[in-house]
């Protein structure tokens, strides 16, 4: 087999040689599925690891059309290759917003469903998949079937959060939420240790949106000091989206620029310069998607890339366990610019959906040869504490860790078998994790 290009996830690790197919029509898509032995669909390539890496990749770019928008009920139907950014352009001026949104608008609708993404409102609103009314999935058999919480329920539960391994999501209908303004009131609270961070997050769980930026390089007494950012939709200010094109990072910057010294400095200065109990009115795009202003920010980590690591710990002993893990990370000396912590609400029924009730921490590790070992050790610690790692960010988890922390994997496999997905839809990640 000859390969025409090299791809990777957003983290830039691992890389894979691939045949990138861009079918322009459903019939072309069906033909490729029939013709190729095994493949995986790919949207914007914003999963961090290797979940959309394979030797044959179906790019869903051409399936990016709106199909129907019921502006009275807030029901939107679109093809799965459309980005959330395009959706926002249409829905916000009409007074609607996404019920759940990840930290970037550059993901596709299909990708958001396949990762069953969560956002800053998970503690109240759950995951993206919980707002999907219907899906159309193109199966390995070539058939296009509808899946919903009532029709082909098993396929629906496996597809939401199923990392594209059940088939190709072709269209979806989602329920939007009404908004009166395209602005967000953001309240920032400064905390000086992990205990107060968790306490404040808990105390403010009635806020629509909440997340804490955590200085995970601070050691000792200051361990876990954070800036908690709470958000609430404003009631005035108009409905303009004011979309700005990102400023593009043109080249890979030398990775040495991001090291533990610069990261510690940045984190420290950022924390110290923020005011406690500061309230600001922000445009929605700056509140939810600050990094979207910098196109290709992943290049700042250099050519070797980075691994984003996100795990969840159960609520019981959550605070002391988080302290242990933060200590371990601070000790390892692997700096992270961006670390965020958030409390998650209850888990849903989707088989491979990541969130479970407790606390989640997400951080970046610059890719180095020694990092994989560090992460495997972290994986073990997290698993021992009853937690697990987010598949959309994972690039290194071992099969045994996956199978013990995602106990519904067998059920997932039997549904894949029923719908003809075994062997047909697979990624570098699914192979690594021992899915067939």
């Amino acid at each position: 087999m000859t390969f025409d290009t090299t791809i990777s996830g957003w983290g830039g690790y691992p890389k894979q040689e691939t045949n990138l197919l861009i079918p322009p029509s459903y019939s072309a898509l069906q033909l490729e599925i029939q013709k190729n032995q095994s493949l995986i669909s790919r949207g914007m390539g914003r999963s961090y690891g290797d979940s959309a890496n394979a030797s044959v990749v179906l790019q869903t770019n051409c399936f990016d059309h709106f199909i129907k928008f019921d502006t009275k009920e807030g029901l939107l139907t679109a093809e799965a290759g459309i980005t959330l950014r395009e959706i926002l352009k249409v829905i916000v001026p009409q007074g609607w917003f996404l019920p759940v949104t990840p930290g970037t608008s550059f993901v596709t609708l299909g990708g958001a469903i396949a990762s069953d993404v969560h956002g800053k409102n998970h503690h109240l609103s759950g995951t993206f998949g919980q707002y999907v009314k219907f899906l159309k999935v193109l199966l390995g058999t070539g058939d296009i079937v509808t899946a919903s919480p009532s029709e082909n329920k098993d396929l629906f539960r496996a597809t939401c959060g199923g990392m594209g391994l059940t088939g190709v999501i072709v269209t979806a209908t989602i329920q939007l939420i009404p908004i009166k303004s395209s602005f967000i009131y953001q309240k920032t609270i400064r905390t000086n240790c992990i205990e107060t961070t968790m306490e404040e997050l808990e105390n403010n769980s009635n806020a629509n949106y909440s997340v804490a930026w955590i200085d995970c390089l601070a050691k000792g007494k200051g361990l876990g000091r954070s800036l908690i950012m709470l958000g609430q939709h404003a009631n005035n200010g108009g409905l303009d989206l004011n979309l700005k094109d990102p400023i593009v990072v043109p080249i890979y910057t030398p990775a040495v620029l991001l090291n533990s010294v610069t990261a510690t400095m940045f984190n420290s200065v950022y924390w110290k310069n923020s005011k406690d109990y500061n309230i600001k009115k922000l445009p929605l795009m700056s509140y939810f998607y600050p990094l979207d202003l910098i196109g290709g920010w992943n290049k700042l980590y250099g050519k070797a890339g980075f691994i984003q690591y996100q795990f969840v710990l159960p609520k019981i002993d959550g605070i002391s366990n988080m302290r242990k893990i933060l200590t371990e990370i601070a000790k390892s000396g692997h700096g992270s610019f961006l670390a965020v912590i958030k409390h998650l609400g209850q888990a849903n029924e989707n088989l491979l959906s990541f969130p479970t009730e407790g606390y989640t921490l997400s951080l970046d590790f610059k890719m180095t040869t020694s990092i994989i070992k560090v992460l495997h050790k972290l994986d073990d610690t997290v698993a021992d504490m009853g937690g697990r790692v987010y598949l959309s960010k994972d690039a290194v988890m071992r099969e045994i860790t996956f199978k013990s922390t995602y106990p519904k994997w067998q059920q997932f496999e039997s549904i894949r078998k029923k719908y003809g997905a075994i062997g047909k839809f697979s990624s570098a990640q699914s192979k690594r994790l021992g899915l067939r």
Binding site: S25, C62, H65, I67
Partner: protein
């Protein structure tokens, strides 16, 4: 309120242009061969903000149909302000070399049908003394190369034709914008190895809209092709024939 006729509306570059125009609330008459796809695009444009979208399916190689298509477009939108001609195929050069039919078919689609449409549209715009015609052409038309001279020569014809047309229509307040596209990463070019010179259809579309808004005459998209083509055209034929550019 602009009223736009798009010929070859399922072309990915034309579609990206249409999306930008839809956000401005323009009205559309979309002409394409594939009914299913043009219907999908029409629904999409309506949701993106288009005031009105009408569609028409036709094989544009049937030149006899052109006049009636224009009549229908004109009555559907109650007049026309802008026509974007975007249809075309990327001829398979190797097949063309072996087949006269393949060669002439390529020239018919890429040049003759466009010229037929240009003639008919320009007469309408000339008599209404307003309008803008944008034509998607290619840098391949600037100099024939061994790898795609059938496609290139059809585009060369478009370039010369629109140059003359532009001069003729200038005094009638009608503009003709010739858009010389470089490499665009679209379904038409899936089988090509992509490099630094390639751009996405959306990027190309944004530049096309800028050129149309400014009522430019001839533009290279992206602009760096202007420099590349100056260099390529400067190579003497005696040297050019021995090199594969």
């Amino acid at each position: 309120m602009k009223k736009i006729l798009i010929i070859g509306a399922t072309s990915s570059i034309a579609e990206q242009c249409a999306r930008i125009w839809a956000e401005r609330g323009y009205s559309f008459y979309l002409v394409a061969r594939n009914e299913e796809r043009v219907k999908t695009i029409a629904a999409d444009l309506r949701i993106r903000g288009a005031t009105q979208v009408a569609i028409h399916c036709a094989d544009l190689n049937d030149l006899e149909l052109h006049d009636s298509i224009l009549n229908k477009a004109n009555s559907a939108l109650n007049g026309l302000d802008l026509a974007l001609i975007a249809h075309g195929i990327l001829s398979n050069q190797k097949k063309c070399e072996q087949s006269v039919k393949e060669t002439l078919d390529g020239i018919k689609t890429n040049a003759l049908s466009t010229i037929s449409l240009l003639t008919l549209i320009s007469n309408r715009f000339e008599s209404q003394r307003s309008g803008l015609i944008a034509v998607l052409s290619s840098v391949a038309g600037d100099r024939g190369r061994a790898s795609n001279y059938v496609y290139g020569s059809a585009k060369a014809m478009i370039n010369a034709f629109t140059s003359g047309l532009r001069q003729r229509l200038c005094k009638s307040n009608v503009d003709v914008v010739t858009i010389k596209l470089g490499f665009v990463d679209s379904p038409m070019t899936t089988s090509f190895k992509k490099g630094l010179l390639w751009v996405k259809p959306y990027t190309a579309a944004k530049k096309i809209i800028v050129a149309v808004d400014a009522r430019k005459s001839e533009v290279y998209v992206p602009a760096f092709w202007f420099v590349i083509m100056i260099l390529i055209k400067a190579v003497p034929s005696a040297v050019f024939k021995k090199r594969v550019f």
